[in-house]
């Protein structure tokens, strides 16, 4: 899977899920939640972000609550989140929701706001489109990559249940 987009940079460490999307918005539809995405860190971000843009984050991105803050990021149309490391719950929620999240040590120093990056999940490589500079990362476990590429947990389960039922019939 390859994703290309322009970078929004949130280089701080330990950005928690309530900063990604505050709990008070959690009852709103996803499209409304998107308007508040990361607003406490950059009030203009949600209005200016374009579908396919990328978020670059620091260490432990999405730490804190298990509330599904990835919904706001996904609904905003963000193509991928690349961070030095992720909070475990945000990471799992994102994969399940079909939002590509890539642990990518060194990404904060590698990418600047507005850079166009190409992310190749199978090769485990990020490339700066303008300069050709590259950064390697450990590819995701293959079933997680499958899950994101299929569009999330539901699509993955659909394939899985179909396979299970097929083998039961035999």
């Amino acid at each position: 899977m390859k994703v290309t987009g322009a970078v929004w940079k949130f280089p701080q460490d330990d950005i928690d899920t309530d900063q990604i999307r505050r709990a008070v918005y959690s009852h709103l539809p996803a499209s409304e939640q998107a308007k508040h995405c990361l607003e406490s860190l950059d009030p203009g971000f949600a209005a200016q972000a374009r579908p396919g843009d990328l978020i670059v984050g620091g260490r432990n991105f999405g730490c804190g609550s298990s509330r599904p803050a990835h919904v706001a990021v996904k609904a905003l149309g963000i193509g991928a989140v690349l961070a030095e490391s992720f909070g475990r719950l945000f990471f799992r929620n994102s994969i399940s929701g079909g939002l590509l999240v890539v642990p990518c040590p060194g990404i904060v120093a590698f990418a600047e706001r507005g850079d166009r990056l190409e992310v190749d999940t199978a090769a485990g490589e990020v490339r700066n489109v303008a300069t050709g500079a590259t950064l390697r990362f450990a590819p995701l476990a293959s079933f997680l990559r499958d899950m994101v590429e299929l569009g999330g947990e539901k699509a993955y389960l659909k394939a899985r249940l179909a396979r299970d039922r097929e083998s039961q019939r035999r």
Binding site: D13, H27, L28, R88
Partner: protein, 424 residues
């Protein structure tokens, strides 16, 4: 792998297919004993789940008898929006014959352990970040995120095998210093990423002598150091606590003697002073004396970190015969109905009421910032919440985390205060 940790053995026992060996980082397909769920606040989410289950052709939930819904966040509903979300979720469970805990029953982590549903050797899946709290009974309790639909549709989910870190705590606490101070101190020393990607086991002479209430407090903090799960090896204290509560047989697993921990951190707490985590991070920890005298607008006692009987007892010991400062709102939200009833029986509730504390029904209360004590911009609270991230209890407000006794002492004085002088 050279020897397995008890947590690994629990996972192996619940894995399909059952592996002969496990390595950290590897994913296993796990069938949990308990699938706990929140009566959540988002109506769109339940509509999507229903549509997804229909699309996947799932009529009967495979884990139906192991599903436990709780109404603990934003409960009873504070707004029409949240009420609508909760109604949709309740309807979803009721339609499937699944009983829903009422909004005064308490916080999921407390109820599941108090009622003997989560036991030593259990695997519990629950979409709440403080699920590691339940590791205090020797369960594998990792927060659920991603995998919810799998659990509803398939009855299984995927879990990564953790590396395990050991935190050894020795020493006896001085007067005025409590288990929560120890948890805060360790949180500060190890930092928010101290156990990222690991599970953490708490051991040592301090833990050996620690009550269950405060073992839960310690395990709760695992979340704030980034741990996937917390664990205390079940001992006589655990078994004594669990035995009369257990709703089914359980099994205690033991770590192999040759097991190699990811890292060992040692703490001696015998000279520890009362601690606080200053705004805006749970690892921004310092001695309370450094911020003593700072003005507060609100004090909060409760949460899955510090909403148990011993926490209320510690606050009542400080408050007995005294009044909350007239400029302070002191809000007490017991963690469960069992705690409410025990605290009432023991007279602690009278002490709180006589002191002019605002005592609420048992649930998460103000901690997640949904209701029950939201702060105005610019206000400052001292609280024994789980965490104090920016905006947690209200935008542009400040939260100092402290022990229940320190919270009570501060409520009396209207400024951050040590409990010591109230404990003569």
């Amino acid at each position: 792998m050279a020897g397995l940790h008890a947590l690994h053995k629990i996972l192996v026992e619940h894995a399909h297919p059952r592996p002969r060996d496990v390595a950290p980082g590897e994913f296993l397909e796990i069938e949990p004993d308990v699938f706990a769920v929140q009566v959540a606040t988002n109506a769109e989410e339940v509509a999507r789940l229903e549509a997804d289950l229909a699309e996947l052709g799932v009529d009967e939930l495979p884990l139906r008898d192991r599903i436990f819904p709780f109404t603990d966040h934003g409960a009873p509903a504070p707004t029409a929006g949240i009420a609508t979300g909760q109604k949709r979720w309740r309807d979803f469970y009721r339609a499937r014959g699944i009983a829903v805990a009422d909004p005064g029953a308490g916080i999921s982590h407390l109820i599941l352990t108090e009622r003997g549903i989560v036991l030593p050797g259990s695997v519990v899946a629950l979409r709440d970040s403080h699920t590691p709290t339940m590791g205090a009974v020797g369960a594998f309790a990792a927060s659920l995120a991603g995998g919810t639909l799998s659990l509803f549709a398939l009855g299984r989910y995927w879990l990564d095998v953790p590396r395990v870190m050991l935190v050894r705590i020795d020493g006896r606490l001085r007067k005025g210093v409590y288990g929560r101070d120890v948890a805060l101190h360790i949180n500060g020393a190890l930092g928010q990423r101290g156990a990222l990607g690991c599970a953490v086991e708490f051991a040592g002479s301090f833990v050996r002598d620690l009550s269950m209430d405060l073992r839960f407090t310690l395990c709760n903090m695992g979340t704030e150091i980034g741990a996937m799960a917390s664990y205390v090896q079940p001992d006589d204290i655990t078994l004594h606590w669990v035995r009369d509560r257990a709703q089914r047989p359980f099994c205690v697993f033991h770590t192999d003697p040759g097991f190699e921990y990811e890292g060992v951190h040692e703490f001696d707490v015998s000279t520890l002073e009362p601690q606080v985590a200053a705004p805006h991070a749970p690892d921004n920890v310092k001695p309370l004396s450094e911020v003593e005298g700072r003005h507060i607008d609100q004090a909060f006692l409760g949460s899955c970190a510090s909403g148990r009987l011993e926490d209320i007892a510690a606050a009542a010991a400080v408050l007995k015969g005294r009044k909350v400062h007239p400029d302070v709102r002191f809000i007490v939200t017991p963690g469960s109905r069992e705690v409410v009833m025990a605290a009432t029986r023991l007279g602690y509730m009278d002490v709180l009421h006589e002191a002019n504390a605002v005592v609420t029904s048992a649930n998460c209360g103000a901690c997640p910032g949904l209701h029950g004590g939201i702060l105005a911009p610019g206000e400052i609270a001292i609280a024994c919440n789980t965490r104090n991230f920016p905006g947690r209890m209200g935008p542009n407000a400040e939260i100092y985390l402290a022990s229940p006794a320190s919270v009570a002492a501060s409520a009396i004085e209207g400024r951050i205060a040590s409990p010591l002088k109230y404990l003569q």
